[in-house]
Symmetry: C2
Subunit: 414 residues, 2 copies
């Protein structure tokens, strides 16, 4: 394979290095770097697109900004003519947990699988050109394997190697049971690469073991081995944990423009450079410039975040809503003004009420105790005035504006 690189013309070689630098930007690891270069070289020589694989878990289709790390990377490949292979791992989804012990691994129907896959397609379509994406369901080839073929598949790996996987070794040390069937999940993912003859597989650093399995299995089945690109995990709004829906620290890509913008503005300053690198759709040159400006103080962190937030809203909602969100943000936060459009509700209940009861009645907070806590934290405003007394009783008048936290506004009309 090494001779691919030697055969390149000077122009091609420069192009190969340029693509490589782009794909390598911001990633955690490339295994192995030389093979990725060789694959790019081969693609240039033979004018054949590379097949770039990403596996999807069909049980959790909520896409958030954490996913854009890999989407942006896929987009870079797509922009150079390469083909994206999205694999919906529906085979395991349909099996569920054969021991019945794992609530997390519930059995999905064909319909649920199709629906979840469709959700991915719609949401990914905001970043990727879905015309240049192959969508595969791995049940197509996995459900066709018989026991003999499964034995051959299992013969490609040792028990010791599987026990190296982090979560397995941790459970063994903790004396927690591992059911034998669990050993097959990485093998299934790897076998997908055998069937699809993937050139490259992308995954988060937490997928290290599983994506390398593809290389091992391709070798066992005497195919060309895929190169592997591991991407860093993006921390969420708390700045500590990996962004995920279950942790509540995420920016959903279906969040409303103003919400998406506001959440992005709340990321810790230390994460700005990482968000620029991994999650925005800026080109390499712009990313580099932004990071330099930020570092030498030429770019204020707040302004950097505005640019990131605007980029996100543009990506998932479009140009106009992004401009709107910038404007809204400036109105509410920077100029400490009220937003131009505040949702209004008609108030038909008692005109005299405590602020705490009012907040709960309007559904702005789920309980009185949370309402009281929010008042104590200075998070409640009435007609622009901070409420300080948790027992405050008020008389509702027309156009009373109540504000909870930074972004929730409601206007009461009588």
């Amino acid at each position: 394979m090494n001779k691919n690189i030697e055969q390149l013309s000077a122009v091609q070689k420069k192009e190969m290095e340029r693509q490589y630098a782009l794909y390598a930007n911001g990633v955690s690891e490339i295994i192995p770097a030389l093979e990725l270069k060789q694959k790019i070289a081969k693609s240039l020589l033979e004018k054949k697109p590379l097949k770039v694989k990403l596996g999807l878990d069909p049980s959790a289709p909520d896409v958030h900004i954490g996913h854009t790390v890999v989407l942006q990377k896929l987009k870079q490949f797509q922009q150079h003519g390469h083909m994206i292979q999205l694999i919906v791992g529906d085979f395991t989804g349909k099996i569920g947990d054969p021991t019945g012990k794992s609530a997390a691994r519930k059995q999905l129907t064909d319909e649920e699988v199709k629906h979840n896959a469709q959700t991915y397609v719609e949401q990914f379509g905001k970043v990727l050109d879905m015309e240049k994406v192959e969508l595969h369901y791995n049940s197509r080839w996995l459900s066709a394997l018989n026991f003999e073929e499964v034995v051959r598949l299992a013969g490609s790996i040792t028990v010791a190697r599987l026990l190296e996987r982090n979560d397995f070794s941790q459970r063994i040390s903790a004396g927690k049971p591992i059911s034998l069937h669990e050993f097959f999940y990485p093998l299934m993912q790897g076998y997908d690469s055998v069937v699809l003859e993937s050139d490259i597989e992308l995954g988060g650093t937490d997928q290290h073991f599983n994506v390398l399995m593809g290389r091992q299995l391709q070798e066992h089945y005497q195919k060309e081995k895929q190169a592997v690109i591991l991407l860093p995990l993006l921390e969420g709004l708390d700045g500590v944990e990996k962004m995920s829906k279950s942790k509540g620290n995420y920016i959903g890509i279906q969040d409303e423009p103003n919400d998406m913008f506001g959440k992005t503005m709340s990321i810790p300053d230390e994460l700005i450079a990482k968000y620029i690198d991994l999650a925005t759709s800026f080109d390499l040159k712009k990313k580099t410039q932004l990071k330099i400006d930020l570092k030498c103080g030429k770019l204020h962190p707040r302004d950097a975040k505005v640019m990131i937030a605007e980029n996100f809203v543009t990506m998932f909602h479009g140009r106009k809503p992004a401009e709107g969100a910038v404007h809204h943000f400036q109105q509410v936060f920077q100029h400490k003004k009220l937003p131009e459009e505040i949702p209004a509700v008609v108030w038909k209940k008692a005109s005299e009420i405590s602020v705490v009861d009012l907040i709960v009645e309007l559904g702005l907070l789920p309980s009185k105790s949370e309402a009281r806590k929010m008042i104590q934290n200075g998070g409640i405003k009435l007609n622009g005035e901070k409420v300080t007394n948790i027992s405050l009783e008020i008389e509702i008048k027309n156009d009373t504006i109540i504000q909870v936290g930074k972004r929730k506004f409601l206007k009461l009309t009588l």
Copy 2:
């Protein structure tokens, strides 16, 4: 199930205990004893035969006296109307070793599997009534399993439980690799019991883990669990190692009558009682009497061995050949005479030859060095006279008799 026993009449209860005592005689372990009794009770109440399973390795069909341990036990069940299930493990035989590393586990063709199974049938037929035996090939149900069903099967067991198996834990400690597919062999054997709804499985003590797997899987698939009978392993002629073809310490059940008889006479005296118990077809009463007589000196070990040897030859060759073998043995060994019939060969080569060359030419020993060693050990006789000179040259005359070891004779005619 316990109520089966309670429902028995006094006569039935006595019969149940009698059968149980018979089946339990000479075995290493019954798991669990109470369940075996319950199964016998149920069979008596419902007048339904029990299904008694034995798994066979299709790659090594050479049957020797070591196998009669389990055959005699099966025969006891058969004599009480129960049904024997012989399972030819052809599924693994046809797969071979998917890693290609194990020479022992070579891939067998359909023809080889059938041929080996036929060998079992013929040889087992000398002990068992093959009319009351079901012969099953496990590829019938195992090759029909798809990946999803295999995942369910694998979900029935934990990795930790599999690692408890002796050879696996030893290999893990020694840092020797275990290929994942090897974990499936015990599962396949266990799944056979699920499909065949076996009541009882027999196996040597070295099969402890595998036969218990049948119980575990039957439970997982919500079937009645089989009871397990573990049988001791019979030591071979060396009195130390398990009888096996590869160790050369075996009495083959296809050995010629005189050879079978002679080999049996060579077992160490300490093993006589064990051979009586496990390998002969004597009834329980006779076995007990023989062991008592032997212990109190009423029966000479040599005479006990004659009875065992006669029993073996009768079992595998018939009454007449057994009598002939006894006679032959008494002629040659006890009366130190030559046997009545000595095979003759016509000698057409040089009439003057060294004894060493003669032995090799006749194919009595494989090499000159072994011939010289045998002379030094006093194992070569010419016309009844021990040869002591390893360089001895002789002239071949008509009716020259050469004897190698205790049992090989050849007469040369000119």
